[in-house]
Amino acid sequence: MIGRITRTVDRISTTATEERDFLTVKNLKVAFPTEDGLVQAVDDVSFAVEKGSTLAIVGESGSGKSVTAQAVMGLLDRRTAKVSGEIWLNNVELLGLPSSEMQAMRGDDLAMIFQDPMSSLHPFYRVGDQIVEAMRAHRKVKPKEAKREVVDMFKRVGIPAPERRVDAFPHQLSGGMRQRVMIAMALINSPDLLIADEPTTALDVTVQAQILELIQDLQKDFGTTVIVITHDLGIVADMADEVAVMYGARIVERGPTKTIFETPEMPYTLGLLSSIPRMDVEAGGRLLPIPGNPPSPIRLPKGCVFEPRCRYKAMTNGLSETVRPELLPTAGSPDHLVRCHLMPETRKRIAGEVLASLAEATKA
């Protein structure tokens, strides 16, 4: 603990420019060399999260969102993954840390909830013991106190009969209970940053809502900063303060949740919004899928990553095929960034048309 404080002080003195943002990721790149070529899983991703707020990273499978999260957690194997860029947490740069220091922070300052609670708990150990193990990795606790703390945390996350459940094995619990155990495990050391990687994908719909609500409640109580990774826009609307839309290893649009839902500009985001099944559209109405498939991470398009699937690429005069667009603020709202070659007015017009047609479908 003391080591970390002095270290933090060191870093502050060298980087006085770091502002109020609690987590800052700058130009993060992750590549995996394979026999078929270099897999560029994350390409130049930058974002910042304020303390206590929630960032949602949205994107389809293979868009690089999970790898981004694992890079922040320091869970990527340095032997197989080439990672570059900067990740600042609380004024400590994580990528440059020796692995022993990163290990000391993992599970203590930052923690993670994984997608599949079935396979993420060790099948051979009692769930209580697995959580106690997480506590004792970072602080000295007497076994009795540790167990009491786990029971308290189980109560917090809504596990019934916590005194009995701490002695259960994972296979004796339901999927929802196991995810609650995972949440308890992630929060037991009161981390400042919690990364939830598709925390509800493997769960029943009824349980999903409970788990999301739980994460939000706990976030309020603990003041935790949350990054939620998902492909479910419902979760985004529900939880996030800010959204980063990822496509083809890059962030293609970023901004406050309200802005992204109400005035999206990137054609991919528009596509995502039009392809959500909606209760308010009459049955039999067709969804609007995005045509084509995501790009191969081995051969990302030279220009805009979304170009091969974009309906409006003709309007860029071939620019999108050759030149890589930058993630730039939109006119009027510096928080809203878009990576697109279309002219701002064109984007706004297209977005207006798409949203209007969606609204029309709702009425009909």
Partner: protein
């Protein structure tokens, strides 16, 4: 399990009775007249129908029996009677009782060495997968795996005992009689047994650990901030332990039935040597006895392995 053992007695008994060797003839001596042969056959109880012979044998296991009851010198074989070797004029049970401790110490020592070296080398190899450390270990394992035990044994004896004279020539003494001599005798056979078996465990452990290292719960363990050693041993290895326990239990049991070549090379009077001798002599009661005892070890080991599953993997526990 008891049924299995019962079937085992049945099979060994009748199998050996089908052999084209006539025990009566073997023990008859050089001058053998048909009359003498007949007397001998009666003395051995071989004139009875096979089923009666088996019943006598089976009863002998539990209540004991008496051979040549109507002769001037009856041979009392008390329960559990595994038979009587007329060739060596000794009870099979006492011959086996003499051989078992030798084999037990041989197997146990070798087992401990090979498990420790095999499993730790396997883990080390898995952690350095693809690097020179891994390749070296796998190379050594392959060589160890393919060398025949008599070769390793003879090479060791030749150099360590004969050429360099570091150790006296092996001669078995029980460990409580002369611990130093015991160790001096056993160290080479232990190494031979360990080299042969460790190679297999290196590969098994390496593969198991590599497989479980990719599991989600190992990632969870890392995300908790556990030290890498804890992640590997407590989480990855533990999860991959089941096949290792299975193989270890059965290998140990198999070894307790006698390591024929190793025992012969180091002239250790264990189960393996006893088995070879009795086969060479066509000493049927001894062969049957050794078979029964060895098979019992394997059956019991199977049971223990099954029980260990429940210790290793809580999902196997019932109720």
């Amino acid at each position: 399990m008891l049924l299995l053992l019962f079937l085992l007695t049945l099979v060994t008994f009748f199998l050996f009775n089908l052999l084209p060797v006539d025990p009566a003839r073997l023990t008859c001596g050089k001058i053998c007249t048909p009359a003498l042969l007949e007397i001998n056959r009666h003395r051995l109880g071989l004139d009875l129908p096979p089923l009666d012979q088996y019943l006598a044998y089976f009863r002998g296991l539990f209540v004991g029996r008496t051979f040549s009851a109507d002769s001037p010198q009856p041979i009392v074989c008390s329960a559990p009677c595994l038979g009587y070797s007329f060739l060596r004029h000794e009870q099979v049970l006492s011959m086996i009782a003499r051989a078992v401790p030798v084999t037990f110490w041989l197997a146990l020592g070798g087992f401990i060495i090979w498990i420790i070296t095999g499993v730790s080398a396997g883990i080390y190899s898995a952690l350095h997968r693809g690097k020179w450390q891994d390749r070296t270990i796998m190379g050594i394992a392959l060589v160890g795996y393919s060398l025949p035990s008599f070769f390793i044994g003879l090479v060791l004896i030749f150099f360590v005992v004969l050429e360099w004279g570091w150790l006296p020539f092996p001669q078995f003494v029980p460990p409580n009689q002369n611990p130093l001599k015991f160790l001096q005798t056993m160290i080479l056979p232990w190494i031979v047994i360990a080299v042969l078996n460790a190679a297999f465990y290196v590969r098994l452990t390496r593969n198991q650990v590599l497989e479980t290292l990719g599991e989600d719960y190992v990632r969870t363990a890392r995300a908790k901030g556990l030290r890498e050693r804890v992640v590997v041993v407590k989480h990855a290895l533990r999860a991959g332990l089941t096949p290792i326990v299975t193989a270890a239990g059965l290998d140990l049991a198999y070894l307790l039935g006698g390591a024929i070549i190793t025992e012969s090379i180091f002239s250790l009077p264990g189960m393996g040597v006893l088995a070879v001798q009795s086969v060479v002599d066509s000493d049927l009661p001894v062969i049957a006895g050794v078979t029964l005892v060895s098979a019992t070890f394997i059956i019991v080991a199977n049971l223990i392995v099954d029980l260990l599953y429940a210790v290793v993997d809580p999902r196997v526990r019932v109720g």
